[in-house]
Symmetry: C2
Subunit: 309 residues, 2 copies
């Protein structure tokens, strides 16, 4: 199958590309390398450097290749950075989606899978939050743009162009960019820990998150490849279903380390959600998917891996 | 008071500008004249031709003037056109809002009032719909971009930058552009009636809308000028509170005309809501505003006015 992966040099995109190449698929990838790294792009993928919000970049790709599936994973993925450059955030997360929708329809691509985020829920009042929760009050520019993209997909989906938006919760695991200290709670803490053996936590330790391992995320993305969709547009949570307090993540990181680690608390970042965790029962029901990596194992292995480097 | 009105050459912007000039305010206006007409800009307003999604246009304006209030009324306002050019729609309705927020904050403008739309409700299940309704499923690109703008305002508002988003229902009245046959239900029908004495209705006559006269809209916009806001960000419906079936609008137009008018029904346009009307009780409570022009009078006067021309 010929598949386009946007954001192929990123954490999720590169992991997915590697898997799909291993299964014998024909992978084309695009990435502007603003956060992704060229060395992440797996051998065998056809790579183009460019912006997904750039019409001409996409035009060349769609004219050259006949895609059967698009994974749109590219985008600015830090709530914090979205406050510093809201226009770039809107372009990379929303304009890109609009362009891709247009090209998919023009070139009869039957399916598109979109990386959305649990951030669209804001401070959800019903936990674990499910996809049917309606009072969406996004708290960051990032979340606003992702929600708009979901809405664009909903409006454009039909039996000839089926789309899925996955609301990813906090993804962690091998391959995260430890040089970007503004996105990925686990990778931020891990990077600090490795660099200075001190973790600085922006905000309360009582905040809680739903951490999902990259392996489980990739399995979820793969599950969407072949199965027929019952609905032309569908939103799914991709999460572990377990709340973990930030202070417990810190303890686990500290106990997993071979070194003595200190930590300190400071002010929170704007647009940060206090606590959220999700229900994955809809995705489980429709795609027979279950998260498999336990948080304890996932974190321990990750610390081991990075402390070895 | 020095006031910026974006979309000053448009239906609402020009009407507001005229009123505020009459009250002795200092009015600066910007418009790209894509839909608005230069002859609409009232004498006495300081006018700049330009796009509100263009950083440099806004930079010049904010550097030159010290605004105390911004009315952001510019934007592509047709659901139908938003399907033909979603990227332009996103830029004119959403990127423009982001830029204006940034400039207002940078130049310490204390208040911004935004023209949103009842389209953000989609097919609301509770009628009359109020601002607390949560299950927002926008059906057009236009509505997606407006909803995103509301969210950007919510995130950015604080005691030093207070904002209000007005969800306008179907505005009609003198000053509507009768040359644009893709926006404004009343003006579309009126234009057809005057040109060919035949009205073509896209979609069912059983659909219903909440029509609000331009005079009442301008009173609402004026009411927001001086009163202190209780909350830093607030959304209000601006509507009549009355549902009117499309077929009844047609009858009223026909009976108001001096000529024999025919009508015919055809297929609906994409993203059209079936039926909606709103509750204005929140705005009434906070700003002592009430719609005053009856629909019958409003339509009769309008037909008389345009048939005279």
């Amino acid at each position: 199958m010929k598949i386009l992966i946007t954001g192929i040099a990123g954490f999720v995109g590169s992991g997915l590309a590697k898997e799909l190449l291993g299964l014998g698929h024909d992978i084309v990838g695009v990435d502007n390398l603003s956060n992704g790294r060229i060395q992440n792009v797996p051998v065998g993928a056809d790579f183009v450097k460019g912006d997904c919000h750039d019409f001409d970049t996409l035009k060349v790709l769609f004219e050259k290749h006949s895609f059967q599936l698009v994974y749109h994973l590219a985008g600015q993925s830090s709530g914090e950075i979205s406050f510093e450059n809201p226009i770039y955030d809107l372009e990379s997360n929303t304009t890109s989606t609009l362009h891709l929708i247009n090209f998919c329809k023009l070139f009869s691509v039957p399916k598109m899978i979109y990386a959305s985020t649990m951030s669209v829920y804001g401070d959800a009042e019903e936990l674990p939050v499910s996809e049917t929760y309606t009072n969406l009050i996004p708290k960051s520019f990032y979340a606003v743009g992702k929600l708009a993209s979901e809405n664009y997909l909903r409006i454009n989906s039909n039996k000839n162009f089926q789309t899925v938006a996955l609301r990813f919760f906090n993804i962690y695991g091998p391959g995260q960019n430890l040089e970007n200290l503004k996105q990925g709670m686990v990778s931020i803490f891990l990077a600090q820990m490795i660099k200075s053996r001190t973790i600085t936590i922006k905000g309360s330790g009582e905040r809680f998150r739903d951490f999902i391992h990259i392996k489980d995320v990739i399995e979820a993305l793969k599950a969407l490849m072949f199965k027929d969709y019952k609905e032309d547009f569908k939103i799914y949570n991709i999460c572990s279903g377990q709340p973990t307090k930030v202070k417990n993540l810190i303890s686990l990181l500290e106990s997993s380390s071979s070194f003595k680690i200190k930590h300190q608390y400071t002010d929170s970042t704007p647009g940060d959600q206090f606590g959220i965790y999700g229900s994955y029962s809809a995705f489980q029901r429709d795609f027979e998917w279950l998260p498999k990596v336990s948080f304890d194992d996932g974190i321990k292995d990750l610390v081991k891996l990075y402390e070895k480097d």
